[in-house]
């Protein structure tokens, strides 16, 4: 009997506690909902901004294609926005963008990868801890500074050994862009390589491999997805780069494959047009959006490619 009543008593008190708890719970539940809500709102701000940008780009681009046929735009090799009878072929800009990016990656790819190999496979901990941050300073230098560096230092050096090169040319900003991208490639590749387990290297060394053989036949294949992703991000960076080319390559809209000549990239064109006084509503004003849209598609493709590659080449270990 006594035990029974005691048991009932205790269940009652437990129930009471649960009831009480519920009352306070409503408040804490509200709090728990509020936090994600706020965070969600913050996230929405950036997402909405992106959508806003895409919407503007898109609508203005459509307006542009009402005035200039889309085929003329994508197949035209002449870009003369300011002439009496203007022509809006985007190929010179795409060409300039690709050539400068290729030059940049020819510099940044090998040098960045070699630096990554040195830092991750050869350097001692102490050396790496000094060299890596120093190298990363390179990525933090404002691009305007690089632009002047290309124009006033690199171009004269190139011209002294190769006099055919024009005062404004695509070669010099391409190289300097590559230098700017080295730390990005080096640092991301180094991360990818250091995350390959130590046991892989031990396996190779135990078979009598030199560090070189363990690096190129085991570590790099295992880290390939990360390395390729770093290259693609480097290319995106080169495609989006503006100031260096604007300053050191001038604004001739040549359609040529001769790297000694001046060329213009998509971003440099946008800067030129936006900085000049293109009246709102004019064709040249809308051309800015069409070029920006093209650029956007380019970088988007690059990013998608990077994601695809880093999934596809992921080696399982």
């Amino acid at each position: 009997m006594t035990s029974n009543s005691e048991a009932r008593k205790s269940t009652v008190s437990v129930r009471e506690m649960i009831e009480k708890k519920k009352a306070t719970k409503i408040l804490s539940k509200f709090k728990e909902k509020l936090v994600p809500m706020t965070l969600f709102l913050f996230a929405m701000v950036s997402i909405l901004t992106t959508f806003g940008i895409i919407y503007t780009l898109f609508s203005e681009t459509v307006e542009f294609f009402k005035r200039v046929p889309i085929t003329d735009f994508f197949t035209g090799t002449v870009l003369r926005p300011l002439s009496q009878n203007p022509e809006f072929g985007v190929l010179p800009l795409i060409n300039g963008t690709l050539i400068s990016s290729i030059i940049a990656m020819l510099v940044a790819g090998p040098i960045g990868l070699m630096a990554a190999v040195y830092l991750s496979e050869y350097a001692s901990d102490r050396v790496r801890r000094v060299l890596k941050p120093l190298l990363e300073i390179l990525a933090g230098i404002p691009t305007v500074v690089y632009g002047f560096f290309a124009f006033t230092f690199v171009t004269p050096i190139i011209r002294s050994v190769w006099p055919d090169v024009d005062a404004t040319n695509i070669l010099s900003p391409g190289i300097v862009m590559g230098i700017m991208i080295i730390p990005m490639v080096a640092s991301l590749s180094e991360d990818a390589m250091s995350s390959v387990p130590k046991s892989m290297r031990e396996g190779a060394f135990a078979l009598g491999a030199t560090p070189l053989e363990s690096t190129f036949k085991v570590v790099i294949p295992a880290a390939l997805s990360g390395i390729i992703a770093s290259f693609i991000l480097g290319i995106s960076r080169a495609i989006g780069e503006t100031m260096i080319v604007t300053i050191a390559s001038g604004s001739s809209k040549n359609f040529t494959f001769d790297v000694t000549e001046s060329m213009q990239t998509m971003t440099a064109y946008i800067v030129e047009v936006a900085g000049g006084d293109a009246p709102a509503g004019s064709t040249i004003y809308f051309s800015l959006y069409a070029v920006a849209m093209t650029l956007f598609v380019f970088t988007l493709l690059m990013n998608l490619l990077a994601r695809y590659v880093s999934r596809k080449f992921r080696e399982e270990y």
Partner: protein, 271 residues
């Protein structure tokens, strides 16, 4: 535990070691420090050719450190310092002039955790011969088949040589790693607890393998499993706190240890 259980069946007719056998490794007052940790203290061991030498001892006593010193793998830890001498076939290997690459092609190693490369089964085995300059596809094919057969894994993988090695089970991976080591035809095999991650059946297979390989290779094997040491080894060294407490014929060490600490350890009365 009854000691008769772990006695080796047919070793009674063996003669006294060291006189009839060639010595492949000989350490002379070997000391090793990791920074300030004195991990190996005055080790004097001689390892016989074409025999199995087992290293036993509690965790942290320096077993792995010892066998990693035999192929200078310890040098991958920057803080390592050594003193004393190790002679491999009469040559001092601790001198910087002795090239580690050369040492490691003669002294192969199998690790505690299977560590195949993230490549195909074929490429895993062919890696060693390839870096040592064998390019001929036919020869490589033969080496791969022979090594996989010797490691008792050929029948399980012969139809999937092009598949990634990480699709194999743990036991198969470990035998693949053994095959990979056999492919460079070393003289000595160092094995650091090769069966600690394996199930009883795979363990048995590896043990049989060790018995078989003994005909052609000198084997040093670290193990936590005393029955295993008793079953497969000819000589056993008992390590404690970086020192060799006792080193003797396996049968003698397990049936009639001369040191009290050895007896305590093998009868499970330790610390």
């Amino acid at each position: 535990m009854s000691l008769t259980m772990i006695k080796k069946p047919e070793t009674s007719n063996r003669t006294i070691p060291n006189t009839s056998k060639n010595i492949v490794f000989d350490t002379d007052d070997l000391n090793l420090w990791y920074g300030d940790t004195h991990a190996l203290k005055n080790i004097n061991l001689s390892i016989n050719e074409k025999e199995v030498t087992a290293i036993i001892g509690p965790s942290g006593c320096g077993k792995s450190t010892f066998i990693k010193t035999l192929n200078r793998m310890v040098e991958m830890v920057p803080s390592v310092r050594t003193s004393g001498d190790i002679k491999y076939n009469e040559k001092s290997i601790l001198e910087k002039s002795f090239r580690v690459e050369e040492l490691r092609t003669r002294v192969g190693m199998v690790f505690q955790k299977p560590n195949p490369f993230p490549k195909s089964i074929y490429e895993n085995v062919a890696y060693g011969p390839k870096i040592h300059g064998i390019r001929n596809k036919k020869v490589l094919d033969e080496i791969v088949e022979k090594s996989l057969r010797d490691a008792f894994i050929w029948d399980e993988v012969k139809d999937r040589l092009k598949e990634n090695a990480y699709g194999l089970s743990g036991g198969q991976q470990q035998r693949l790693c053994i095959a990979r080591t056999l492919a460079i035809e070393p003289d000595v095999l160092l094995m650091d607890e090769p069966t600690s991650a394996l199930d009883p059946i795979s363990t048995l297979k590896v043990e049989e393998l060790v018995q078989k390989l003994k005909e052609d290779y000198s084997i040093v094997i670290v193990t936590h499993n005393m029955q295993q040491a008793a079953r497969i080894s000819d000589q056993t060294a008992f390590f404690l706190n970086g020192e060799v407490v006792e080193f003797d014929e396996t049968e003698k060490l397990f049936s009639n240890p001369s040191d009290q600490r050895t007896e305590d350890y093998i009868t499970g009365r330790f610390g």
